[in-house]
């Protein structure tokens, strides 16, 4: 037995906020737990039966008291709700300036890919004081990427991409757990976050073996998988132009309009018939099974970089 901690380390920007809310609810709940327990014991002793035939006083209730102990718990519960919801929205929505890391869960390991292509397994090296957005995928069943010291977790759901984010505030090594049961070696699907000073992180990156950045890999896949034959940079292709598509609304054949986010792009690769763009034929084959979860993330990373060409007007002539 090495140590006997009773409270987890707090090493992210959000951790202290989570702890603060925790202590608030703990204080409220302790107050009521002690109050009610004390009253129950006190009444049981003070009003104990002194005669075998004795009965209690003829009291039926009190509307005023009922209102009081309905309204006060309700108000406190609403305060907890609002505080918790506000915090949750900040935990759930990654800031726009986040550095993006791809993590794929599979029975029973975590595969990590950094933006510049460095990969690692079960470990995650990050710089401190930088917002890190994690895009999570799963190759098989549900998993959950959980870093207790950062107070964040998110399910890795097969068939879609999920996101989480954090900003580490203290250099150190922190536990990663899989928090969603995933079969035999679920409790072995663990790892560690190594949060480092920026320059240590740069040094670590430089020492890593990069096999090309996510975008470069995505671009290569885009050619290798022949996506490029239909999705051309001009409108002559059989598939929609992908430049500038990310983050923008897309009109579909069935009349709906959806925003082309990561999950839309992912779905359009593995299940192209699900949402067909208006004006195009449903002819794209599925890439389900041919493209791994990591490759999907690379393709998406690449597609996200394709910016719409500026309006053609000022070029003049041919």
């Amino acid at each position: 037995m090495s140590s006997f901690p009773l409270f987890p380390e707090a090493a992210s920007s959000i951790a202290h906020e989570v702890d603060l809310l925790y202590f608030f609810i703990l204080a409220v709940c302790s107050f009521f737990a002690v109050l009610v327990s004390a009253l129950v014991v006190f009444f049981a002793v003070k009003f104990r039966r002194r005669h075998p035939d004795e009965v209690g006083a003829d009291i039926h209730g009190s509307i005023a008291l009922e209102l009081l102990w309905t309204v006060i718990p309700f108000a406190l519960a609403m305060a907890m709700f609002v505080w918790g919801a506000d915090l949750y929205f900040r935990i759930a929505r990654p800031p726009a300036d986040s550095m993006e890391v791809f993590v794929v869960g599979k029975q029973w390991m975590w595969k990590v890919q950094h933006p510049d292509g460095v990969r690692e397994i079960n470990e995650l090296h990050v710089p401190i004081n930088r917002n890190i957005k994690i895009t999570l995928g799963s190759e098989d069943v549900l998993h959950d990427y959980y870093i207790p010291a950062f107070r964040v977790k998110m399910d890795a759901v097969p068939g879609k991409l999920t996101t989480m984010w954090f900003r580490a505030t203290k250099a150190g090594t922190y536990q990663i757990f899989c928090a969603e049961y995933c079969g035999t070696n679920h409790s072995g699907m663990i790892g560690r976050v190594i949060a480092m000073e920026e320059h240590d992180y740069e040094a670590w990156l430089a020492g890593g073996r990069s096999t090309g950045t996510a975008v470069e890999n995505g671009e290569r896949l885009f050619t290798d998988l022949a996506c490029i034959t239909c999705h051309k940079s001009d409108t002559t292709g059989r598939g929609p132009v992908l430049a500038g598509v990310f983050g923008n609304p897309v009109r579909l054949m069935d009349g709906r309009t959806v925003v082309a986010d990561e999950n839309y792009l992912r779905e359009s690769i593995v299940n192209p018939q699900a949402k067909v763009v208006l004006g195009y034929q449903p002819i794209m084959p599925t890439f389900q099974g041919t493209v791994s979860e990591e490759n999907l993330m690379q393709l998406i990373a690449y597609i996200k970089t394709l910016k719409a060409a500026p309006p053609a007007a000022p070029t003049g002539g041919q």
């Binding site: 009773l6 609810i25 009965v55 209690g56 006083a57 009922e66 309905t70 907890m80 919801a85």
Partner: protein, 545 residues
Amino acid sequence: MTHGTQNSPSYLDAPYGIWSWLLTKDHKRIGIMYLISVTVFFAIGGLFAAGIRTELLTPQGDFLTADLYNKLFTLHGVVMIFFFLIPSIPATLGNFLIPIQIGAKDLAFPRINLLSWYIYVIGAVFTLAAVFMGGVDTGWTFYTPYSSIASNTNVVLAALGVFITGFSSILTGFNFIVTIHRMRAPGMTWFRLPLFIWAHYATSLVMILGTPVVAITILLVFAERAMGFAIFDPRAGGDPVLFQHLFWFYSHPAVYIMILPGMGVVSELVAAVSRKQIFGYSFVAYSSLAIAIIGFLVWGHHMFVSSQSIYAGLVFSIITMIVAVPSAVKTFNWTATMYKGSVTWESPTYWVIGFMGLFLIGGLTGLFLGTMGLDVHLHDTYFVVAHFHYIMVGGAIMAFLGGVHFYWPKMTGRMYPEAMGKISAILVFVGFNLTFFPQFVLGYLGMPRRYHAYPEDFQILNVLSTAGAGVLGLGYALIVFYLVASLFKERNAPANPWGATGLEWQIQSPPITLNFESDPIVTEDAYNYAGRAGHGGHAKKAGEV
């Protein structure tokens, strides 16, 4: 009426022999058959728990293999929830007491009542078959796509057992609702009903509205797993998160199937041990209905990190916080009932106070989990494990055991040794807290549930928890021992050993097959203890303490 003056034999003596029990239509005998069956499953589920706690004594997974450990926690959950907790109070005490408390001779459909026991047993056989054929390892939650495409254990057999048992619960709920509507004695108006009846009415609503949904969900898993229909498998366009919505649509309300009847028992016990009208009767009655109805709208609080829309999460969180209020109201009313009561210190009081303490902690810790920003950290950790054990073991089982002690004289005609009733209540209370309180700390530290091996930092708390489980097990075993031993003594229970109100205490112990010698007519409210003061009793006056 007193014991021994009747001409009709008691329900225990009237026809004898095994078939007179297995083919009985008497709600009391069926209640006893359920009591025996659920006790057997409680013991089985407890053995699985013993295996789990033994493994967790050390951080390394060294006592059991990972696969065996995974099967043990799965079976512990399946057996305890579907074969013990859900039927525990309704099918035993509910079956026994509902007709008597409303002044009826039996439930509305005695044959359907017997059928529901057989369905329960058939479901249990399927699940036990799954155990003996190698077990199942999906967790009691059967989450897809693990359960539908990845696990290579007996998912189909175990799920079929749960599916079948669900029908017994639907039939019981249906029977109770019809009985409570149609079979009340003259004068037994809705607001004279004991709160035990209100609680069971609310529970029955959940049973008949919720259980079909879990049945359909299980069928869908079956269709995907056994017949290849793609419903939850994302590789074929299915949605694994859909399963969680369907599953929790039933399984959150199922928590209320487990705790509402316990609240009903506690309402009876608080009034009886205080010899006082329940404080705010109608608030306690309506809060049962409120819990049952609002409880259907909170399922998504299990899914804050599942990729469910964050706006949906917002709605589920606020309704979750709202559903906490009626439980708080009940607790305050029980407490106020003891004020200026005539509180006995006989064994049922120990169970009531134990229930209050544990249920309080269980309920209050639900607030931590319903709060979204905090749940992100706590979700699927031991905090959740501790929370729901405080509700289901601390709350529901304390109430169940309190009820079994309180009604034991009525059911069997025997008193148990009073001292034993108190010692076991204390053992269970202490053992329970020692087992589960450390798990709150473990949860906030970040220990995930369903872990076969864990980091060394968590060991001391886990050792405490396992030690507590030993004490808890001892307490439960002691109860079985002295209650069974009491059956071999003479029938010494008077008709009303606790001096309680209610029709069940006006008939002999144990009751005759048709419950009442002559049809009862109800002329007073439930818990009219003050009205008894005139008959030689001492009433506490306001100010007299």
